[in-house]
């Protein structure tokens, strides 16, 4: 089977992290975001993945080469010379997606984190003889998303309502699709939207179905949702693979610690923390609801909560980092400094406290 991942552009919402690497390569739970998807696709029988990308494709490919061999999945970049929307990339990759076998292919949005029950989805798709199947997920605030109105018994999709101001339902498009190659006939080679221009036509023909996504779903395209997504992901790991989570007196709640990270005496870590490879967490440090990316040093007695610490940064002794602080790559916070919601661009030194949320250029 084939798959296409909609990677898109600059990932501006996840800056300053995406100033250092393309968004799909930003680690989420100690793994580049896109690997979560490629692994799930592989597990569902995918052999070839097309990345629809319009920014830094060389960097992406260079990075993904090693995973290609490791996972046994062929990875191709379909470079867009202009942004092609959510459907245009399918037309651009038509030759690969429509290989003549008649097999359906997957389409995933790269910002989304979930348990990816792609096998179940494939069965559902086949059982309903659908031209396209989309995953839907229930949300608290449907007015922020594209709501899918469908028949709960048959799964047949009626229509899409983008950011509805009046309640029409609480199931939204989760950004995970399976399509028959036939759908490609409906897509022109131009920038176009799959949700607005393609799916409504399939729905009109009664060939669009949807399946409710079991488990969690989160669009982790911005720091706040990234932290929430980590909590949901770790909770799901606790149910599915508890052995991957850290244990011990210094751990509370769900915590993921890379085996090459060092944790000092008297720390208290968790809940909802991920610590990447090569990190040094010195004695007496407190970490909760945060992500510590590769190669970070957190010095003695520091306290970090609700924040993301970028690659190879350092956090000084008795520093306090909280309230959605995001440190870019190679940021150095001096001893005793306080960051309340500071968003710090890469390669900066922070010597004075940031008392209220602001961007440090």
């Amino acid at each position: 089977m084939k798959a296409l991942i909609l990677v898109g552009g600059f990932g501006t919402r996840l800056r300053p992290l995406t100033l250092s690497v393309p968004k799909p390569l930003v680690d989420f739970a100690n793994k580049p975001m896109i690997l979560h998807q490629i692994e799930a696709l592989k597990a569902a029988g995918t052999t070839e993945v097309v990345l629809a990308i319009n920014y830094q494709p060389e960097l992406m490919l260079g990075f993904l080469r090693e995973f290609e061999a490791q996972l046994g999945v062929k990875i191709i970049c379909s470079q867009e010379t202009e942004p092609m929307g959510t459907a245009g990339p399918l037309a651009l990759a038509r030759e690969i997606l429509d290989d003549g076998s008649g097999d359906p292919f997957f389409v995933l949005n790269s910002d989304v984190i979930s348990e990816y029950p792609l096998k179940d989805m494939l069965e559902f798709h086949k059982a309903h003889n659908a031209e396209a199947t989309i995953m839907v997920t229930k949300v608290e605030e449907p007015s922020k998303y594209g709501v899918v109105v469908y028949n709960e018994q048959t799964g047949n999709v009626d229509r899409f309502v983008e950011k509805p101001q009046i309640f029409v339902g609480n199931k939204i498009n989760a950004g995970i699709y399976i399509c028959q190659p036939a759908i490609l006939d409906r897509i022109e080679l131009r920038p176009t939207s799959i949700e607005k221009e393609v799916f409504p036509k399939v729905a009109a023909d009664g060939k669009l179905f949807c399946m409710e996504l079991p488990g969690f779903w989160m669009d982790v395209g911005q720091p706040k949702d990234y932290i929430t997504g980590l909590q949901l992901y770790l909770e799901s790991l606790r149910k599915r693979f508890p052995e991957r989570l850290a244990n011990g007196a210094h751990v509370t709640g769900n915590v993921l610690i890379d085996s090459t990270a060092e944790i000092g005496e008297g720390c208290l870590i968790g809940p909802d923390v991920s610590i990447g490879p090569g990190c040094h967490i010195e004695p007496g440090v407190r970490l909760s609801r945060c992500t510590i990316l590769r190669g970070v040093r957190v010095k003695k007695h520091a306290c970090i909560t609700g924040s993301i610490i970028g690659w190879h940064s350092t956090v000084g002794q008795w520093a306090r980092v909280e309230n959605m602080t995001v440190l870019g790559e190679d940021v150095h916070m001096s001893d005793e400094v306080y960051s309340n919601g500071g968003v710090v661009l890469p390669h900066k030194e922070i010597k004075a406290s940031i008392l209220s949320p602001q961007i440090i250029m």
Partner: protein, 413 residues
């Protein structure tokens, strides 16, 4: 043989409201700066005056507020210290005059008058020498400050050669002089004659006006002393004597601040710690030796306080009796009062932590460090609890509060 006495004006509980919430627990003059009560610093300076025979504290606090302190002090200093309680506010000169008979018991020829709420090195011996050399009624300690700062105080003009006081004006609207009155004086015993002549003059003026003036009647009916009895030292006694070859100034080049607010108390605590470095380094904590906490700059730790060896303190830190400072705690520019507990890995900066308060693990109590701004430092009143991991920034917290969530820029009642 010459004899001097010192009179320290300590004020009263209705004064010093700007020192809340700390003044809820202790009379402001007893509040510790650099580990010693505020009033202790002028008293220590008095000790250096060779012919000093008596120290009087004059104010209108209840006697019990000073009892313990004064009795312990007399033994330590080998100079009698006595608290004289005013029955009502009479102004600084009125208060002195009220206790004239007691103050004059030792038949002193010189009187030092010191305000308690100033922080300086109190160069009393130098002041005395200047007074002896020039004669006259008295010598005023002055300091040169910036134009902006001078406007908040009494501004003085002195003859650059003779040092005679030529002009004195209180908080002028326009700039008069960059020399300010430090609130530290030495007088000959004829001060009392001058006060009583002012008093007589005031009484006569008052009786002349009595028939017609509503103002005087209204003033007389309040608890404040009657207009004739209420005599201020600076405005009523000294100002008229400027330019009459009676008063001289002595300029200090050392530090000087007025201690009206908790923020300034923290700053002054640091100034006194720095003074220890020069005058009494044995009072300062040293970070040397195994099993001792790391010390940066000037730090005072009461002998009964327990500091974990992995803690780091300073600069400008004063830790009072029975405080417990846990493992991995960081203290910077703060006053930690009696019986406070600071738990593991907490961090306290630019703050005053009130008696019996508890600061939780990994919590952070912080002020911006602007000593003159209203919320420029954080002040925790007595018996506050800051729970684990909570951040308190630029807050004033009244006594007996428990903080379980992060607070910023707030006064918490």
């Amino acid at each position: 043989m010459t004899r001097s006495v010192a009179i320290i004006m300590v004020g009263g509980p209705t004064k010093g409201t700007r020192f809340r919430p700390l003044s809820f627990n202790v009379a402001k003059p007893i509040f510790p700066l650099a580990g010693q009560p505020m009033v202790h610093h002028p008293i220590q300076a008095c000790k250096k005056v060779p012919d000093l025979v008596h120290i009087y504290l004059v104010g209108f606090y209840e006697e019990k507020e000073f009892q313990l302190y004064v009795s312990a002090l007399s033994t330590e200093l080998k100079v009698p210290v006595r608290y004289l309680k005013e029955d009502k506010a009479r102004g600084s000169a009125g208060g002195l005059s009220h206790f004239k008979d007691i103050i004059m018991e030792d038949d002193p020829d010189m009187l030092f008058v010191l305000n308690c709420d100033v922080c300086c090195s109190f160069p009393l011996a130098e002041l005395q020498e200047a007074q002896r050399a020039r004669g006259g009624l008295g010598t005023i300690l002055v300091k040169k400050v910036s134009k902006e700062k001078a406007a908040e105080f009494g501004e003085l003009v002195a003859d650059p050669q003779t040092k005679e006081l030529l002009h004195y004006t209180e908080k002028p609207e326009t700039f008069v002089s960059d020399l300010i009155n430090c609130g530290v004086y030495v007088f000959s015993s004829s001060l009392f004659d001058h006060i009583s002549s002012v008093s007589t003059f005031k009484r006569d003026t008052a009786s002349l006006k009595r028939a017609s003036s509503f103002e005087v009647l209204a003033t007389a009916s309040t608890t404040r002393g009657s207009a004739a009895e209420f005599i201020r030292l600076d405005q009523d006694v000294l100002t008229p004597l400027a330019g009459k070859r009676q008063l001289y100034v002595y300029e200090t080049l050392d530090f000087w601040e007025q201690i009206k607010t908790p923020g300034m108390a923290l700053r002054c605590s640091g100034l006194y710690l720095a003074q220890y470095r020069r005058t009494n380094p044995g009072l300062l904590a040293s970070g040397d030796g195994p099993g001792k906490a790391a010390i940066v700059g000037d730090v005072y730790v009461h002998p009964s306080a327990k500091i974990h060896p992995s803690a780091k303190l300073g600069p400008n830190v004063a830790v009072a009796a029975n405080a417990r400072i846990g493992a991995g705690v960081r203290l910077i520019s703060c006053i930690i009062l009696d019986d406070v507990e600071i738990k593991e890995n907490a961090c306290v900066m630019h703050s005053i932590v009130g008696w019996k308060s508890t600061i939780g693990r990994w919590s952070r109590v912080q002020g911006a460090g602007d000593y003159e701004a209203k919320l420029g430092i954080t002040i925790l009143g007595e018996d506050n609890v800051v729970e684990d991991e909570v951040v308190v920034v630029n807050c004033i917290v009244l006594p007996h509060k428990s903080l379980s969530r992060t607070v910023r820029e707030e006064i918490i009642l």
